[in-house]
Amino acid sequence: MGSYLIRRLARTLLVMLGISLVVFVFVRSIPGDPAVAMLGERATPEAAAALREQLGLNKPWFFNPANPLDAQYPKYMTALLSGDLGTGLKSNIPVLDDLKARFPATAELSVAALLVALLIGMPAGILAALRRNSIWDNLATTISLVGVSMPVFWLGLLLSYFFGVKLGILPPSGRLGTEFDIAPITGFNVLDALLRGQPAAAWDAVRHLILPAIALGSIPLAIVARITRSAMLDVLNQDYVRTARAKGLADRTVTMKHALRNALLPVVTVIGLQAGALLGGAVLTETIFSWPGLGSWVYDAISQRDYPIIQGGVIFAALVVSVVNLLVDLSYASLDPRIQYS
């Protein structure tokens, strides 16, 4: 287990180094100049050239014959290895500061979206499998299909308008009502509000989470429901389930203890894969719901060609996905005793 973990962490480090190089080259290869994007309608060739020079973007990418270290990649890597991801080209805000401030918002939303997916998707999948070809099965399948096929931004706008404006029972967007302010501890608003003894703020934060979590969780929900259904169907036809029933065990015990635990393996795998999808989906959800997370920040940076932010955001997202998948891999052993790490 220990050596497996070390190997996996070493591999993750290599992946990170590879990604840092790929993203460095990629952002500079896409057409569009950061200096021009910063100047906007004011951009003239002369003004852009002067700004490019000020920002150090006119230096060679990898090697400067006059001064080998005075090139963009060596400088970037030297800073990166000391934990400095640079600063936003226009904002001058350290990328790490932005990541620290924004990641908890995205993480809180992603966790809420996963909860929506699991708390609704798994029971729906189990019910569909147990009542195969019944109205429940058809309903679960239809909801899955709708969840997968409805664009997140469209669902988000519908939810916001219907519940936020028409019914007025939930806030249309935002992360916290303007009447509250929560000094961050973990960065998770709900948790921080409770830790700070602000129950009203915690409740308000929960209310703000509901609609974006449903929008972001719609696709994982559909996938979890489908995977749970098919995994349960597979397991329910296994001999050991039939044996359990023959022993006279109650339906509930057979389903929850014998069938579900074995059906969980593919579901957990899907959850790991969804970590990346959630970060991707966060771009649209966060924009629609004015959610102050990573997604909309990186998206804006891409349109502005803000290289340090794009690089920092992509490396960080890759790190998160790698860690989540590592945790998923490690969880297999607790679900299936036959799995051993060596």
């Binding site: 057409p31 994007a37 910063m38 003239t44 001058n92 936020g164 935002g174 302010d181 102050p292 909309s296």
Partner: protein, 525 residues
Amino acid sequence: MKKVLLTALLATLSAASAATLVFGGNGEPVSLESGNITDGISILVQRQIYDTLVDFEDGTTDLKPGLATKWTANANNTAWTFTLRKGVRFHDGTPMNADAVVFNLSRWWDKSHPYGFRDQGRTFEIVGELLGGYKGDATAVIKNIVKVNDTTVRVDLNKPSSVLPEVLAAGYFGIASPTAIKKEGAKYGTPASKPVGTGPFIFQSWRTGDRVTLLPNKLYWGEKAKVDQLVIRSIKDASQRLNELKAGTIDFANDLTPDSLRSIQADKNLVAVKRPSFNVGFVSMNNRNQYLKNQAVRQAISMAINKKEIANAFWNGLAVSNASFLPPVLAWANSPKVPADYKFDPAAAKKMLADAGYPNGFSIDLWYMPVSRPYFPTPKPIAEAIAADLSVIGIKVNLKTEDWAKYLQDRNKEPGFDMYMIGWTGDYGDPDNFYGAYYGANASDDINWNPANVETLLQQGRAANTQAAKAKVYQQLHELTYNAAYRIPMVHSNPLAAARSYVKGWTPSPLGSEPFNTISVGSKK
């Protein structure tokens, strides 16, 4: 459980009882450091925290005293003297005086200023653009910045300029506390710092990506704020800003789309607010194109586009279309010899095209912006309407677009775009800010037309002392550019804003943002 819920309810009620004014911004500020940023929402927040030397009268581009009570030029406009308001203090208690003003102006203009933080990414590019360059540059307008005494600052110029007070009134140039800048260092203006000005609101907090919270400055020298707290929220999506307005979770907002006007008017809780127009959306034509280098062809194209109909269709009455590059508030600089409106006459345009040697028309590219701006909120359908109009006179238009950063870059690259849509929103109330930006020596090279007399006229305009003298110069420029027909003004739009009906005292400025100290929320629940 019941007790927790009750506590929560009581806390909510008591928190909500303070008079909080909530603005829905179209994003979050990039930075709160004055002189170094140009995006609209950064400037809007800065307008609450900082004062400028010279200010604008409410709802207009006319000048009024700000931190300077008086400003006078020497006989040939090569030195401006600003007399500062006495007794004004920054929010940190330090005095606003000539030292503070010289410190601010110098760090923007002098590339070697120790507190300019250029080695840590500061660029202050707006100073280079509006003031011709930085200390020591051959093109720079400013020669020297001098403290005359504790309440007087003189700015010496390399060349005559009558617009320096207007430029310094632009929202970019708020005067910040030197003590705060020295204390915060390079993090000044970021969410980790506390920006300090003399304005009507004091910075309280900036929650990244979410909101900036400000408190009223009880010692403000001007009209004091009428609310207990001002919150500026970041709501990027325009339809979501409208949703929030309708839900009552924000009190007022800018930059709504013209198609939401009817929905706002139908809601009894909302009031539609038309910001005075101070922009121009136009189509530029490139002299490098074999057809467009012909003046008659350009004029025929101009005549074939039904601009009024396009303005009606896509702006819902929130725009005017005329033959001027200048927005209506600067109409005093228009020439009486130029018709007020372009003549829409497809038959005459077709004949003109035939006379120019193209009876069967030709094929041409029209590039439209991939982003929405108040001067072109829906670029693609507008481009389609232009293409449809031009097809009537035999011109086949190929519609093209690309990523915005690349679009801005490619328009200036050889050979550039044939025809493309772009626009401009003004920084200050002088025609120079419009003509200079697109026809001046340092302007975009997208049309390949730089006649010497245009630059001469622009320099005469900048040097002219009175509005009447300026009008004479700019009228000539109007005639010249109208006849040349390289840039066809399509619209001057009124950016749409809206407020809850209890919001009183809001007078939107043509310049895009204004201090909110005049606003009250009397009957807000």
